[in-house]
């Protein structure tokens, strides 16, 4: 998929970013702090660095996929973040800068003394490894592998070398400056992807017209994925932890030269948070409109890049992914080194004695290298253990938040908390959270309750328990001499003495912008937006009947298995789940999806279906009968040939369709409707899937003709159930004579010029008895037509049958 120009773009990016990082490193004064960048970092760099650090490659790909699958809902994580950044800027930052410390654990040390300090140091190092280094690197490496086709270990090593190089030499200053560059690259790259997608789709009007209104909703009280109360309760616990107390994010605030700079920087990050829904999430929706048939939404990003980005820009998009990873990884490496050196090496190894700047710097660099090596092995280990373990660790992140959120919210703002209360509360809470998290992720309930609630609900409950533990333990104990009160918020504010009015006005404006964004999208979601969309010309909407061009190809191996390679010269019809539903629409691609290949080899016309269907009637289930027909199983005119999972092909070879409603096929070579079932057939009986006489069964002549076709081999089909029972494939071929009678006594042949015929296709899906629909059908999706009218000749689509090979394919 990549061209040499793409590799050139990637190489150019890698060299450029390393050059920038190393240049910043070389400009540093000798003995400058590796951890605070000499407190000389400007607000723009702080803001962009927070933004870039936050957005990793897994976030990028996952939120794109989530948008592809269900729309804007995922944007809440972005558009709610500003509230917590506001908290960081206006509440936490005055403390952090007022106390003038380089790490989060040292703030806690001030308040609660050494024991708590040691505990938090260990906690911080663990979370950095889990959250920032290992997981991100593993996922980044995996993506890189998919794009570049490299080995996973090599990918991880490659990415790590880039990140480590300037981080070791330049420390935080280099990290922050390169992060700013990466942020710009991500914004430009993703904006280009969004605009190109929009361009291909046909502009904003078409986007609004094509997107299901539900995709625009940001507030969905009935969301089955995230209950609204879980989000409302649990998200703040995680967000306070992530945005306000996590070393990797907060270290950028520590590096600010003064409070106004820090506040401006954090504000910039919050304002930039307006962007991700437009450039990371919207393109997912755009791609859904362009191609709704990607089965696995995690693949959506890659699919869009390879389908719609031209040569050169694919390389740019990979550079964007690398940028997302490096900007996260370098920050993690640096904060690991910061905490290890300042909170472990200095106080524990040197027992708190003065250590020269030079030595601290050297140790910090060595620790960065060591962290990098640790991250490498951690990520490689993740690749070698089962995928489940990786998901488990990722899910556990949600359970890391309650202890630290509690410690900061309660410990810093309530003076009655004692060192013992805080320390034991924190320790117990950690143990509890990890345990609960482990069982919750593994879905072990020990029969105590039916199922674990949504993880955000659990997180909130754990937070409440943590707070209760800390409060009760504090009330039961007395303050120890180790601890001291921190200044009050008011003292902090006056000490900084800065005029905070402009920054508050800025936050007010941002709040207004956010509220109007929510209002705007709710308006779209209400469906009113559709009427305001640019009108599409009448002619364009009238021609919605689908068309397909079918060409000659190589004869496939007619064994029932559908191999994309043997059909690469065929025409592919995709997106079966998005076809016209006769019954319930398909929401889940595992439930029903797939594609059809069509081609001919002059002797036969081939239809090859590759269907994903999680529940196979009569194979995964009992063979129940529909209420409508107790004789549905019979292979007679009284049976229901199409009852079960299977497909139908309908061809109108003479291509005559009047305007009258209800005109059906003739049941002969001029026009017909046949069925292939997955569990029964004329030739194999009730045990074996295959061809059956289709409609109109009530017409004796049709039934006889169809049966003669099957028995003579004029029409043949082979069905295969996929070994993992996730669906089935089938090949179906028909002889033009007698089945494609384009005029009385004239049968289609490849020598003829392009011939148009009516065509319709259907895929049926039956999952469990007593479904709400007729016959208990779950789905029946049609390529063309409307509900209840799909068998009318005039509603069929068009097949243009070319005698020759497709022009770009010449064997």
């Amino acid at each position: 998929m990549l061209h040499s120009i793409d590799y050139f773009v990637i190489a150019f990016y890698v060299i450029a970013i390393m050059a920038v990082g190393l240049f910043v490193a070389s400009k540093q004064k000798k003995g400058a702090s590796l951890f605070l960048g000499d407190k000389s970092v400007g607000f723009a760099s702080i803001g962009m660095s927070i933004w870039g650090t936050n957005i990793g490659p897994s976030f990028l790909v996952a939120s794109f996929g989530a948008a592809y699958g269900s729309g804007m809902l995922v944007a809440n994580f972005e558009w709610m973040a500003w509230i917590f950044l506001l908290l960081l800027a206006m509440v936490f930052s005055p403390y952090y800068l007022g106390l003038n410390v380089p790490t989060i654990p040292q703030i806690i040390k001030r308040r609660f003394g050494d024991t708590m300090y040691r505990l938090l140091t260990i906690y911080s190092l663990c979370t950095i490894v889990v959250v920032w280094l290992g997981g991100g690197l593993y996922v980044g490496g995996l993506l890189f592998t998919q794009f570049m086709g490299w080995d996973l270990t090599l990918s991880i090593l490659f990415l790590l070398v880039i990140a480590t190089s300037f981080t070791v030499v330049g420390g935080l200053a280099a990290v922050i400056v390169t992060d700013a560059f990466q942020t710009i690259l991500m914004i430009v790259g993703m904006a280009a992807l969004t605009l190109i997608g929009l361009y291909e789709l046909g502009g904003v009007g078409v986007l609004i017209e094509k997107t299901p209104a539900s995709y625009w909703t940001l507030i969905d009280p009935d969301s089955p994925d995230v209950p609204w109360y879980s989000f409302l309760l649990g998200f703040p616990v995680m967000a306070v932890w992530f945005w306000c107390t996590d070393q990797t994010i907060v270290q950028r605030v520590f590096a600010a030269k003064d409070l106004p700079t820090a506040q401006k920087g954090v504000f910039l990050a919050a304002a930039l948070k307006i962007l991700p829904p437009f450039i990371f999430i919207l393109p997912g929706i755009i791609f859904f409109c362009l191609n709704p048939s990607v089965a696995n939404s995690d693949q959506a990003f890659i699919a869009m890049v390879s389908e719609y980005m031209p040569i050169g820009f694919r390389g740019l998009m990979i550079a964007v992914l690398i940028a997302a990873l490096i900007s996260t990884l370098d920050s993690g490496l640096n904060s690991f080194s910061t905490i290890f050196t300042l909170d472990f090496y200095q106080p524990v190894i040197h027992k708190g004695k003065e250590v020269s700047n030079k030595e601290i710097r050297f140790v910090g660099q060595m620790v960065t290298l060591a962290a990098s090596v640790l991250a490498f092995f951690w990520a490689v280990a993740m690749g070698s253990v089962s995928a489940n373990l990786f998901e488990l660790l990722q899910s556990l992140i949600a359970f890391l938040a309650p202890p630290l959120s509690t410690l900061f919210l309660v410990g810093l703002f309530w003076r009655r908390v004692t060192a013992i209360g805080a320390t034991y509360g924190f320790a117990l809470s950690c143990v509890l959270c990890v345990t609960v998290g482990f069982f919750s992720v593994n879905e072990k309930t020990f029969g105590l309750f039916e199922a674990w609630p949504h993880f955000l609900t659990t997180t909130f409950i754990l937070f409440v328990i943590s707070v209760a533990l800390t409060v009760v333990l504090s009330l039961l104990t007395k303050p120890s001499p180790d601890e001291q009160w921190l200044p009050t918020f008011k003292q902090m504010a006056t000490q900084n003495g800065s005029n905070s009015k402009p920054i508050w006005i800025a936050w007010g404006v941002l709040a207004l912008v956010m509220v109007s964004l929510y209002g705007g999208f709710q308006y779209l979601a209400s469906g009113d937006g559709e009427s305001s969309a640019a009108p599409i010309s009448a002619q364009a909407t009238e021609t919605t009947k689908p068309q397909v061009s079918v060409y000659r190809g190589e004869s496939p191996n007619f064994d029932g298995w559908v191999n994309p390679e043997e059909y690469r010269d065929a025409t592919k019809l995709d997106g079966i789940d998005a076809w016209v539903p006769q019954f319930s629409p398909v929401h889940d691609k595992a439930d029903l999806s797939g594609h059809v290949y069509i081609k001919h080899d002059t002797e036969y016309l081939y239809f090859a279906f590759d269907i994903t269907d999680d529940v196979l009637y009569g194979i995964d289930t009992e063979r129940w009968l529909p209420d409508e027909n107790p004789r549905a199983h019979e292979l007679t005119r009284e049976g229901f040939p199409w009852f079960g999972d299977g497909v139908e092909v309908l061809i109108n070879a003479e291509n005559k369709a009047g305007e009258q409603d209800g005109e059906l096929n003739k049941g002969n070579g001029h026009s017909w409707q046949m069925v292939v079932s997955t569990h029964k057939s004329r030739l194999g009986g009730l045990q074996k899937g295959g061809l059956l006489e289709g409609e109109e069964r009530s017409l004796k002549s049709a039934w006889d003709t169809y049966q003669a076709w099957i028995l003579s081999g004029a029409m043949q089909a082979k069905v295969r159930i996929k070994p993992d029972l996730s669906g089935y494939t089938l090949e179906w071929r028909i002889k033009p004579n007698p089945t494609l009678e384009i005029a009385p006594g004239v049968f289609w042949s490849a020598e003829m010029p392009v011939t148009e015929m009516g065509l319709n296709l259907a895929v049926g899906d039956l999952d469990k008895p007593k479904q709400e629909n007729w016959g208990g059908f779950h789905h029946e999706n049609w390529w063309s037509g409307e509900r209840d009218k799909r068998t009318w000749l005039k509603h069929w689509g068009t097949m243009r049958l070319y005698g020759d090979y497709r022009s770009e394919y010449n064997p």
Binding site: Y199, E200, L201, G202, M309, I311, Q539
Partner: protein
């Protein structure tokens, strides 16, 4: 939509079409700008058109009483505010997103005719709606009977005033710039094209919001999924068929309203147009885009106007870039003129405001010339022509 409010917008940074062109060149991607600018073969015809119109000289009459000028012209039962209209340009949406919409609205607001091209990026129904039935429609002669009938039916039921049949595209123009650029509609997303698009961010963002340009009017007739490179051939064969006098007759029979034949230079062709009952001809060589050795329409215009001016309306386009050029064309005997490229330059330079701006500029230039000549009505302009009958 706001009504046809009098809009006198002029951006003083761009008083001439040349100024607009210079700005537009920076804001329109090269492949699109080349399509707009280019001629065929060695592009000698382009220059000949310019030379032709610029060789015309006018002579003032200063001392006679003068009551001020009136630029309005009555044509096919409608009085237009200026003696010029917007010529049909194919693929306009490629050069500036929503170009037909913008120009049709501007033409309506300023009361001049807008001719929509068949190979336009906007649907004819949409433009009819915007122009409130005041637009003209440019038509080729589709070889496919069904398409021709259907298209004519659509044009007539959409309410177009005048049908303009283009007869000077007997073959697809050989335009080296487009060949080199690999121009297609919609444009291919090659690295080179994308780089050109990105270097014009205004164009790119507006185009993305509007969606890729496609031939909306013809979309229903195009086979779905046809590769872009085959599309040109399809268009060439199906939509732009050769047209001769026998081809024009059924169109004349089917179309009740005024019929204008566009692209004539030869006197014999004008005679034929009169024979089949056309109401007007546009003397034109397709803006120098079809026959590189073609003559400028200026000289034949003078002869044709004298000979047939009382039998058929004589209109003119090709090579006009200013009020002076328009006045010169009218002085040579044209009753009305059309300009194509200048309006698209206007869009390129000024976006949505470019249509009205360009019309206002040309109108203002015309006024100044009329006042200077001492000419009260545009049909009196031939009196001010410096005649070269002498030789």
């Amino acid at each position: 939509m706001a009504g046809p409010r009098v809009n006198n917008f002029i951006d003083n940074r761009y008083p001439t079409v040349n100024d607009l062109r210079a700005k537009a060149k920076k804001r329109i991607p090269k492949f699109a700008f080349d399509y707009l600018e280019g001629g065929c073969m060695d592009e000698l015809g382009l220059q000949r058109n310019r030379d032709g119109i610029e060789s015309v000289q006018l002579r003032s009459e200063l001392l006679k009483p003068y009551a001020g000028c009136d630029l309005s012209v009555e044509l096919f039962g409608h009085t237009y505010a200026s003696p010029f209209g917007i010529a049909p340009i194919g693929l306009q949406g490629l050069m500036w997103p929503k170009a037909p919409e913008i120009l049709a609205a501007a033409a309506l607001a300023k009361n001049i005719p807008y001719i929509l091209s068949t190979v336009s990026s906007s649907g004819l129904e949409r433009i009819a709606e915007i122009s409130e039935g005041n637009a003209w429609y440019q038509f080729y002669n589709p070889t496919d009977d069904a398409i021709r009938k259907d298209l004519l039916q659509r044009v007539s039921s959409a309410g177009y005033k005048v049908l303009v049949v283009t007869v000077d595209v007997q073959t697809f123009g050989y335009r080296p710039r487009d060949i080199k650029n690999g121009l297609s509609m919609p444009p291919k997303m090659t690295l080179r094209n994308i780089m050109q698009m990105l270097s014009c961010p205004n164009w790119f963002i507006e185009t993305a919001l509007a969606g890729k340009p496609e031939m909306q009017t013809l979309k229903p007739y195009m086979p779905k999924g046809m590769p872009v490179d085959q599309l040109a051939e399809f268009m060439n064969k199906t939509v732009m068929g050769r047209v001769d006098i026998d081809g024009l007759k059924p169109i004349r029979d089917a179309w009740q309203g005024p019929l204008v034949i566009k692209g004539l230079i030869n006197e014999r062709d004008v005679e034929a147009a009169i024979q089949i009952g056309a109401d007007g001809v546009i003397m034109s060589n397709h803006g120098g885009r079809q026959l590189d050795a073609g003559e400028s329409p200026v000289e034949p215009l003078q002869r044709v106007a004298k000979k047939y001016g009382d039998q058929i309306k004589i209109l003119m386009d090709s090579g006009l870039r200013s009020g002076t050029n328009i006045a010169s064309a009218l002085a040579c005997g044209a009753e009305f003129t059309f300009l194509g490229r200048p309006f698209v330059y206007g869009l390129g330079a000024l976006g949505k405001k470019g249509g009205v701006h360009t019309i206002n500029c040309l109108h203002k230039q015309m006024e100044q010339i009329m006042n200077q000549l001492g000419c009260e009505r545009v049909d009196q302009l031939p009196r001010f022509l410096v005649s070269n009958d002498a030789h």
